[in-house]
């Protein structure tokens, strides 16, 4: 079916989230909807799925105007949503999950007709090439497969229009490739697809047309064959963006971080890091690539004092920190950009100023004799906000109200506000838009050029290749290879990531 949104406008208090947005997708085509965080993508999709009513504008399906008062009406009109955060019951199996809410029933007491449901799930998954074991429990499935279950759910409800909201955010590169194959298959069999993302490569690869949103408006609609990454980034951000930040040659000095035969256990008491060895020198960036769950998280926590080293040694600037507390590690001049910023890096219900001093609140000039110097705190926090271009109404705003990009800039500003010898950055740009990514990459390179040793851990291969003077690959708890940047190609690193030597 052909879907068209015409002049959709939605006003929230203080924000015009959607300003006369028009998009269109033909039957069997993939529309890529590209935009930064806060560009209005999610609002638009919530309107399409019946969650919000637009203030003005029309939704047309095959040329007929439709009004959705609630999500159920949107579903019956053939619109299926696959959300970024899955809506699945962990203890259900695939058949139960897919049928939930639309179960076929049998007999006088209307019991769940599993046979019919299962047959339909199997039929759909073969028809569209969605390889899923219908009897597997959701909690035992990897993320990529769970996403297929979500897609199956939409197809099961006879969706002709499928909306995928940031579908690749949770996937490994391999799983993303598989997803694209599925999307192409669905489109070929007549499903209309709206693919929401902020990743340029993805829309170029999979979309038939691309509509770019910026600040609630359509910034442009282009064909992938007639555009390129630079143009898309420009449309998204409204200015030219350096997609791969240029960096000069590294001038490595002496080793700042030394990791020798390190073993670390995870929360389940299993050995997650098994004999890792790595050195990071002053003035160089070492980027660790690897699929999530190969011990990177535990290694970073061990370096930064959040987790104990089981055996082996970690030395920072000559000091052994195997059993050191986070405070001691930070005192050695370590800046830590944590993997999960909402969980570890920020206190959402505190202000920008309070978060700015979160790990140096006990030092001068912020405190003297245990009491805060509020003038200094305000002055320094304001300086950080200005210097790092953190978009916030004021330093008294709660950090939870900032966008993801600004929250991450806030963390980077805080960590770089101290003299730094070693930067440990885990997933420093996860979920951020191109403008913020460019900015954070530039700042990291600045720190390198100022002589800091930089360790980056990322599951984004593009990021690893863009930043690493040397690229290390972690697999199954070990560093299985370290390649200088000129040898670190996508293929070479990808092979190591998959455990192929």
């Amino acid at each position: 079916m052909r879907l068209e949104l015409r002049e959709i406008t939605k006003q929230f208090p203080g924000v015009l989230a959607n300003d006369r947005i028009s998009i269109a997708a033909d039957r069997g085509k993939v529309l890529g909807l590209l935009g930064e965080n806060g560009a209005g993508k999610t609002t638009l999709m919530n309107i399409l799925s019946g969650l919000y009513r637009p203030d003005s504008g029309e939704i047309l399906i095959d040329g007929t105007p439709r009004v959705f008062n609630d999500p159920a009406e949107a579903i019956s009109a053939g619109i299926g949503m696959v959300h970024q955060h899955f809506m699945l019951v962990p203890v259900f199996d695939v058949v139960q999950s897919v049928a939930l809410g639309a179960e076929p029933v049998t007999g006088a007491v209307r019991t769940f007709d599993r046979t019919t449901a299962r047959a339909r799930v199997v039929e759909l998954s073969t028809q569209y090439g969605l390889d899923v074991d219908p009897d597997a429990k959701i909690e035992n499935l990897p993320v990529g497969v769970r996403q297929r279950v979500e897609i199956l759910k939409a197809l099961y409800r006879k969706s002709d229009i499928l909306v995928l909201d940031e579908p690749s955010a949770v996937l490994t590169p391999g799983e993303t490739e598989e997803l694209f194959t599925i999307i192409r298959g669905l489109a070929a069999s007549g499903t209309t697809i709206i693919f929401i993302t902020h990743k340029l490569n993805e829309v170029l690869e999979v979309a038939d047309t691309i509509t770019v949103l910026r600040r609630g408006r359509v910034a442009g609609t282009v064909l992938p064959s007639e555009t390129n990454r630079e143009e898309l980034a420009n449309l998204m951000v409204g200015r030219d963006v350096e997609l791969t930040v240029t960096r000069g040659k590294a001038h490595p000095g002496e080793a700042v971080l030394e990791i020798k035969d390190v073993f670390v256990r995870n929360d389940r008491d299993e050995m997650a890091v098994r004999g890792a060895n790595l050195e990071v020198h002053a003035g160089e960036i070492v980027a660790i690539a690897g699929v999530q769950g190969n011990g990177q998280t535990e290694l970073v926590e061990a370096i930064t004092g959040l987790r104990r080293v089981d055996s082996g040694h970690i030395r920072i600037a000559g000091a052994t920190v195997d059993q050191a507390k986070p405070r001691k590690v930070s005192d050695l001049g370590v800046a830590h950009i944590p993997e999960d910023r909402m969980r570890d890096g920020l206190v959402k219900a505190m202000t920008v100023a309070e978060n700015y001093i979160l790990d140096s609140y006990h030092r001068e000039p912020y405190s003297r004799g245990g009491r805060f110097d509020r003038t200094s705190i305000a002055r320094e926090a304001q300086r950080g906000v200005d210097e790092f271009d953190i978009r916030t109404p004021s330093i008294e705003t709660h950090v939870g109200n900032l966008s993801g990009g600004n929250q991450q800039k806030m963390i980077v500003a805080r960590e770089f506000s101290r003299p730094v010898k070693l930067v440990v950055a885990a997933q420093p740009t996860r979920g951020l838009d191109v403008g913020s990514i460019e900015y954070i990459h530039k700042r990291i390179i600045e720190q390198r050029d100022a002589g800091a040793a930089i360790l980056i851990v990322s599951t984004e291969l593009d990021e690893v290749l863009a930043l690493g003077d040397r690229v290390a690959v972690m697999f199954s708890g070990r560093i299985v290879g370290v390649l200088p940047s000129e040898q670190a190609t996508k293929e070479a690193v990808g092979m190591l990531m998959g455990g192929v030597h």
Binding site: F12, P13, G14, V15, L16, A17, E36, N37, G38, G40, T42, T43, N46, L51, Y52, R215, G216, T304, G305, L306, K325, P326, R327, K328, S330, H336, P338, R343, D344, G345, L346, V347, K348, A349, M350, E354, L358, D359, Y361, H362, S367, G370, R371, F372, R374, R391, T392, P393, E396, T397, G400, N401, L402, S403, G404, G405, N406
Partner: protein, 399 residues
Amino acid sequence: MSSLARLRPLAIPALAVLSAFIVGSVFLIFTDIPALQVLFAGRPVDFLTTAFGNVVHAYVALLTGAFGDPPRFAEAIQQGTPQAWATAVRPLSETLVAATPLIFTGLAIAVSFRSGVFNIGGDGQFVLGALGATATALLLRGFPAPITLLASLVAGIVFGAAWGFIPGFLKARTGAHEVITTIMLNYVALQIVQLALRTDFMRPPKGSEPISQVIDFVRVPALLPLPGLRLHWGFVVALIVAAMVSYFLFRTTKGFELRSAGLNLTAARYAGMSAGGSIILAMVVSGALAGLGGAFQVLGTVTQMSNDIDAGYGWTAIALSLLGGNRPSGVIIAAILFGALNNGGHEMQIETAIPLDLLVFIQALVIMFVAAPDLVRQIYRLRPKSAEPGAPASEGAAA
């Protein structure tokens, strides 16, 4: 921030109190048997005026009972005698007397909640503080009164702090949940008091009841130089302590650690703060505040240690802290409100024969409405905290 925005946190509690009184009056109208008889006699207008008049009468009695009667003040100004002034001010004085221990325990709970620790043991810390103060007063009998008084107050702090330290230490070291341990320690504390009150050291000569000797030789000085008023300096100290708690929480590094740990423990650990240390500190400060409350209660208000000294202050404090948004200033207002309800209720009961239980009913409703902020927002069509329901906050801030 505009001055109106500053008042925002007050909106929900204030509306909760208003709602509770409205529901309370509906309850009053439909339990007013004489008035209902008028209704059943087929005179609905008369019923409404009578019943409504009764409600107004009851609430006026409540107010005058809690804060004083304007004619009495007029009389006091006219006559100018201390006796007349005492009569006029007495209701207010009694309200503040009732509020004083609630301010201390309310602050205790607010500190613990801000730190992410659930101190349900305010009662135990309060009675042990009172016991420590009593024992010290008896021990130092004969010394100059100011010294004995000061030492007794310090003993109250120490006993309360110690009783808070135990669950804090257990949680930090072993992970024992403080809700369980503090509740259980309440019972232990009450038994310790029982035991102590049976010793000859505590008991008045020839006494057999579990009540201590009167310790009025160290009495906290009265605040007003009027005859027969019980309001003492403990109330002023409570206000000062509230200001100190506020300073501690929001202007010191230790307070920052506690609040960080309370809001996001993993981030606090990431930032190099000691989680265990924060838990222990929070419990010690909390216990100390409750203990000081107990000390003032026995040294200022009742002058005699008994099991009855605790009127569930530790429990009421949980509600107070919630009502006051875990802010020291909020706790003061909430404590005075509750003090007023308890105290004014007596006057209302005498004047209108409406049982005191109505006030318990209203208090319960206040708490219920505060605990259900969305309900209050819907009733009064308030906008929710951040923009529109479901509108991602990030979109708002980014644009």
